[in-house]
């Protein structure tokens, strides 16, 4: 870190500090100024003929979900860094120019690694509808596509595609001081189309009551997209971020058929070592007898067809 320490410290302090301790930057200083690694897969034609349910993990919380002839993208982030200070470790597995027409894009909350304004700019012409949590509209100014807020348990529906906001446990601020009033601007989503049900957890701490209530209302979840990181420092992260073990508990609470982990190994945002979260998840899978058909750990850019027509 060394020679960049004063610079980074000054930037952090000038910006009223960052939500992640500066030690996190310090730990990852060697990677802070390096280029992102190429993704394991780079998909250029993500439309899967004959797929009923397919998922492409672009990286971090960005996924492209195909439900038959409908496409939904979660928290699109294609930028080289987030929040100016957190660099990307692995390049996106899908270029913005290769993104198909999106019937809907969902934003789970306002943090920079979930709401990237330049990324929305990059796919603006492909977006049919943007959905944000309650009070989130103020942070997506001036785009051409229609944007609506979804309060918890409210839904948006068009041509059979229904998206419902479901509760998660997180925080809604973007800049810090706005935490005082951005108290409801975080959510998960349940996406339904022609008998398919997909749960997207965004960022969440473990809250069994929320997950079981979601299961009560949506008893047939085919797929749960759940974060498994950041893990460390655990005391700091636990209220707002599930780790791999909690993700498996959440997966059971939801009663989902398949779990695809997200939100790991893409940006520097914790003390986690690269690859630590999926390694821990595999260990838990072995311990709990979960198969690789139930938990599909994708690599950056990898696409999986979960159900065919």
């Amino acid at each position: 870190m060394c020679r960049f320490a004063p610079l980074l410290a000054a930037l952090g302090l000038l910006n009223a500090s960052c939500v992640f301790p500066l030690t996190i930057i310090d730990d990852n200083a060697a990677r802070t100024f390096s280029s992102p690694a190429p993704p394991a897969f780079r998909t250029t034609h993500p439309e899967q003929d004959g797929a009923r349910l397919a998922v492409l993990w672009v990286g971090h919380a960005t996924t492209l979900i195909q439900l038959e002839d409908r496409f939904v993208m979660t928290d699109p982030v294609f930028s080289r860094s987030v929040g100016m200070l957190s660099p990307r470790l692995v390049a996106p597995g899908l270029a913005p120019t290769d993104v198909p027409h999106l019937d809907a894009v969902v934003i789970s909350h306002m943090h920079f690694d979930h709401l990237s304004l330049s990324s929305l700019d990059a796919i603006e012409s492909q977006v049919g509808q943007l959905l944000v949590p309650q009070r989130g509209l103020i942070y997506v100014p001036g785009f051409d596509f229609p944007t609506d807020e979804l309060r918890t348990w409210r839904h948006w529906e068009r041509a059979g595609l229904r998206i419902t906001a479901v509760p998660v446990q997180h925080v809604g601020f973007r800049y810090g001081a706005d935490n005082a009033w951005m108290s409801t601007s975080y959510t998960g989503y349940v996406i339904q189309y022609r008998g398919l049900t997909v749960y997207y957890g965004g960022d969440t701490g473990y809250n069994q009551a929320m997950f079981t209530e979601t299961r009560r209302r949506f008893p047939n979840i085919d797929l749960a997209l759940l974060p498994i990181a950041p893990i460390h420092p655990r005391d700091f992260m636990a209220p707002t971020h599930i780790d791999p073990e909690e993700a498996v508990r959440c997966f059971r609470d939801l009663g989902a058929k398949v779990l695809i982990p997200i939100h790991f190994d893409t940006f520097i945002n914790s003390h986690d070592g690269f690859g630590e979260a999926p390694r821990r998840l595999r260990k838990i899978m072995r311990r709990e007898g979960l198969t690789s058909r139930e938990v599909r750990i994708l690599r950056h850019g990898e696409q999986v067809v979960l159900e065919r027509r």
């Binding site: 930037l11 000038l14 910006n15 009223a16 960052c18 939500v19 929040g83 100016m84 306002m110 943090h111 920079f112 690694d113 304004l117 330049s118 009070r135 509209l137 103020i138 942070y139 997506v140 100014p141 944007t147 609506d148 807020e149 309060r151 918890t152 348990w153 409210r154 839904h155 509760p167 998660v168 446990q169 997180h170 925080v171 809604g172 601020f173 973007r174 800049y175 810090g176 001081a177 706005d178 935490n179 005082a180 009033w181 951005m182 108290s183 409801t184 960022d203 701490g205 809250n207 009551a209 929320m210 209530e213 209302r217 950041p230 992260m237 209220p239 707002t240 971020h241 939100h263 945002n269």
Partner: protein, 191 residues
């Protein structure tokens, strides 16, 4: 995970366990104004002055300047929400594209004997986003007056801001009677 703030504010992880009843689909989804309000944290940051160096002919002196925004109009905010702000303006609201009435009191050190240490600028300033809807980089153009007892000068200014408006460089040009002066300010601001 990544937002900017002083802490993860675990208390802010207020849960949403209270399940709202599922409303009927009424067609139009409601939107909610953010309900911004002054907080102790915000107030604390407003007390932080921005350092300013002024260069009248043949000399220079150092000063401090504060920023107050009595009124701001955002021309990019969704029309279903209020486009007006007073005192507090979120970075994307201010730097994403807005016009504001500003008041900027200042204190100068090392001015000539008999000259006033205090000055106040007021005027209109427009912000234009350059990168990331202004969060990463924005530009401002402003005009107004600088009152330094007993003189009043017209001013013009140009600013460039980064880090969500947290830091910026603002140049101001003023003409007091027979002489002109230029000042450069390292603008430090949080909301």
């Amino acid at each position: 995970m990544l937002g900017l703030g002083l802490s993860a504010t675990r208390a802010g992880a207020a849960n949403q366990t209270r399940a709202e009843t599922s409303d009927a689909d009424t067609g139009e989804l409601p939107v909610t104004d953010p309900g911004i309000r002054p907080t102790p944290l915000w107030a604390l940051f407003q007390l932080l002055p921005s350092p300013e160096w002024t260069f009248p002919p043949g000399e220079h002196y150092f000063g401090l300047r504060w920023r107050v925004t009595p009124l701001l109009y955002s021309y990019v905010t969704d029309r279903r929400l209020s486009r007006w702000r007073s005192l507090i303006a979120e970075p994307v609201v201010r730097h994403g594209g807005s016009v504001e009435w500003f008041v900027a009191p200042g204190y100068a050190f090392g001015v000539e004997d008999g000259a006033s240490h205090f000055s106040t600028r007021t005027g209109i300033r427009a912000y234009f986003p350059l990168i990331e809807r202004g969060e990463y980089l924005s530009l401002s153009l402003g005009t107004g007056i600088d009152y330094r007892h007993p003189d009043v000068s017209p001013i013009a200014e140009l600013g460039l801001y980064s880090l969500f408006g947290g830091v910026g460089i603002v140049g101001t040009h003023a003409r007091f009677g027979d002489f002109e002066e230029t000042s450069v300010r390292l603008q430090v601001g949080y909301f």
